[in-house]
Symmetry: C2
Subunit: 196 residues, 2 copies
DNA sequence: CTACATACCGACCAAGCGGTTTGTAAATGA
DNA sequence: TCATTTACAAACCGCTTGGTCGGTATGTAG
């Protein structure tokens, strides 16, 4: 049996996710969320104890599954190198300029909230470690095809860093071009992981 | 002849720079600055027309020269490749954990302010382009020693991205380790720019 | 029909924000 | 010496923020 109020809760989560994605957590105003949801403050505080808990719920119930689904093609398939490159190249073709400039919520929240709130920091750290493990173990699978001097964890973190940095860098220029350049260079780097 | 009030102005700038570095521009409170400077609101608004102009002044008079001085060793010297690697390696030894977790003000402000305020965005973009040019032209100088397939602008942006991403990534973990790993991998990448 | 929980409304609150205004002591130029 | 500007101090203002609280309509179980 599905509770009726679940619909309200979901709406709050989705709109909050959208606001936080666009403006960050701190700059997201509850009153804006209330207006967009067309509900009262009482409704929101019936479902969530405070703004921070709402933020955690958004992270766990919206961003986490979204993030895992997004990266899934990058860390599956027979050829991890090709999967990674395809994944990044598909970003170049599929993502709009606004998407890129808006950036990855995980990266944004990491920068904004890590120093302020431990709850956010640990959730973010956990996701980053998960992603790192996914990439690293996937590369290990085909280590025989790869160079001998590779530190898999280090390479995985390097790839994530480049992605983070690329989206940060393109925020200043407000266009896809910088992002494309960095991602292309990243793909060249990834190819070079193979035995020459 | 030096104006007496210049001392007050400098103090405001330096303390504001410190606050903005630690908490970002929006989260920096004027009242905190006033307390730390031990001055009144009247003093601050005598020297700066509003918070935004104070922010611009901090960027231009504190962050910009600091940034250029910081990167200078990376883009000078006889061997650009070695200079870059030395520069990054010296960060690993010289920077404290807090420094790393706090991150580069340019990167932080880029993420926080690019989407909010054009004045900040253009100043940041300008600095990034300057840095990119410095790195790229420095590499061009020794292009005969480097691989033939190098796109210098792209490589320069890639290096900056990795640096940005590394400091972002380490914010979540609150220690130097992740930063070190990414920087080490970046140095390996930089060495690989040379002809093999 | 009664009793109680759920789901929500909307007025209200204290605190903090950036910014304005009024006032004044000190420095400066004529 | 006197008028004027400089360099502040401090009270004040409107506004927004997250958060609380009393009330209420709608179920729902006994």
């Amino acid at each position: 049996m599905v509770k009726v109020s679940e619909h309200t809760r979901q709406k709050i989560l989705e709109i909050s996710a959208d606001e936080i994605r666009k403006h960050g957590f701190t700059a997201t105003s509850l009153s804006v969320i209330l207006k967009r949801c067309d509900i009262s403050k009482g409704a929101l505080y019936h479902h969530f104890t405070n703004k921070l808990e709402l933020g955690y719920a958004v992270f766990e119930e919206i961003y986490t599954p979204e993030f895992l689904a997004m990266w899934q093609p990058a860390v599956s398939g027979n050829d991890p190198i090709e999967s990674l490159v395809d994944f990044f190249q598909s970003m170049l073709t599929n993502l709009s300029c606004e998407d890129i400039v808006c950036g990855c919520p995980l990266n944004n929240l990491c920068q904004e909230m890590s120093g302020i709130d431990e709850g956010f920091r640990l959730r973010i750290l956990n996701m980053q470690q998960q992603l790192n493990s996914l990439i690293a173990t996937n590369l290990v699978r085909v280590s025989s095809q790869l160079r001998d001097d590779i530190n898999f964890q280090q390479v995985a973190y390097f790839i994530i860093s480049c992605f983070y940095g690329a989206s940060n860098l393109s925020k200043g220029s407000k266009n896809k071009d910088l992002f494309s350049q960095v991602i292309n260079e990243l793909c060249a780097y990834i190819y070079h992981l193979r035995k020459q």
